[in-house]
Symmetry: C2
Subunit: 247 residues, 2 copies
Amino acid sequence: MTLKAQFDHTNCGECPIRHRAVCAHCERDELEELEGIKYYRSFEAGQTIIWSGDPMNFVGSVVSGIASLTQTMEDGRTQMVGLLLPSDFVGRPGREIAPYDVVATTDLVMCCFRKKPFEEMMVTTPHIAQRLLQMTLDELDAAREWMLVLGRKTAREKIASLLSIIARRDASIHQSGMAGPIVFDLPLTREAMADYLGLTLETVSRQISALKKDQVITLEGKRHVTIPDMGRLMEEAGDDTDGGFLV
Amino acid sequence: MTLKAQFDHTNCGECPIRHRAVCAHCERDELEELEGIKYYRSFEAGQTIIWSGDPMNFVGSVVSGIASLTQTMEDGRTQMVGLLLPSDFVGRPGREIAPYDVVATTDLVMCCFRKKPFEEMMVTTPHIAQRLLQMTLDELDAAREWMLVLGRKTAREKIASLLSIIARRDASIHQSGMAGPIVFDLPLTREAMADYLGLTLETVSRQISALKKDQVITLEGKRHVTIPDMGRLMEEAGDDTDGGFLV
DNA sequence: CGAGCACTTGATCGCTTTCAATAGCTGTGG
DNA sequence: CCACAGCTATTGAAAGCGATCAAGTGCTCG
């Protein structure tokens, strides 16, 4: 059974991202209307989902897997400007042309909506527009967090910041607390990390080695990370360690 | 007459940002409701409007002047994460605590709404929520543009990028086309530019001098800039020069 | 006239990049 | 089964760009 078939005909009520995606606030009847315009698409790791400059004929949510938003300059320099996790939204109602490349970082399933009908629902269904506003504001906060990382942090702090973000996300998904060691797999290659952080992949590699040597992290293989002390990692990231979380 | 008094009792219909701010889509009766919860506040250049970590009891729009959103690390490194121009919105409905410092870069007037009533209107008045969504999506695009600048551009390209953004904004306000020389005053100190671009003020100064020497720009005094050839400036910024503007 | 501020310019330092070689892993085909 | 290509990642050496430290200019305002 393909990854796609696994979700085909899935009832929205049983959807794994039901309570976090753009449809989170929808009532039963609104969900039914959404079901009428939705379809699933799956992509393999490395595949480009949308090319910058191409017309967009759908919007949608990441159901499973990870995608990245990247900008590329003429001479090939690239910067990742967004990391799309399950429940994150792709596309902008009202926009015709995609401004960024969207690339599947891992195997990926998306729940797509045909753009025209979705835009009509945006007007008639405040629950969708309200949720999209919340999500966009969250993304804006995340983007501004990254501007500090990109503009002012050292290479070591950048790596520590990225690790702490991934660790926090994983902890929140697995409901494990912040005490005790945190274990996860890196969903990004060194190159993708470099593109996210505005570094070269060599610098990423060196700084990961340095954090390992200093026992801030432990590595098994290239991707499996253990964080023995989250507070220590956050110190290395240059973040406030006194646990002030934004709500 | 103070700057503030100049706007007091101003009818929304005569407001200079009426057609661009969060109230842009509102009907007459909705405007009247907004008038009931609005009040004006003015700030002097350099004054902090909101301190990061403080409770927010209002949201609002910049009516005139420029403000900046900045993040600061414990050791004093600061990064500007937003530049607020007339009609831009400050604050997030539903958020209690301000995540950034908001500082008046020039003398400034804000149209403020008490937070509670505004949040109630957000629910009952789709026109406001819809407009706020548009504006937030625009800000997200701008933030992502800046992530490329911060992560991948050289110091010279960063300066050229900032100048071209300011030039484009001025051209759009004054309805002057992109042909022929563009003239404007820099609304930012060298230090503020450095905070925006993730540079030191010394590097900003050096790169501006270099652009002047290479005749990409002309300076009269420290702030008055002339751009003889916008295409040339955009080349220096590393941007596509073939005029592809996002819509 | 002197203090204070914004800005410029010079000299040096150091972090990150660049260039380059190598290791480890996976899948393919002789 | 092994050789080899192709990819990801690590590590070393050298170079370059922007930061840092420092001095000085020009302007405004008391």
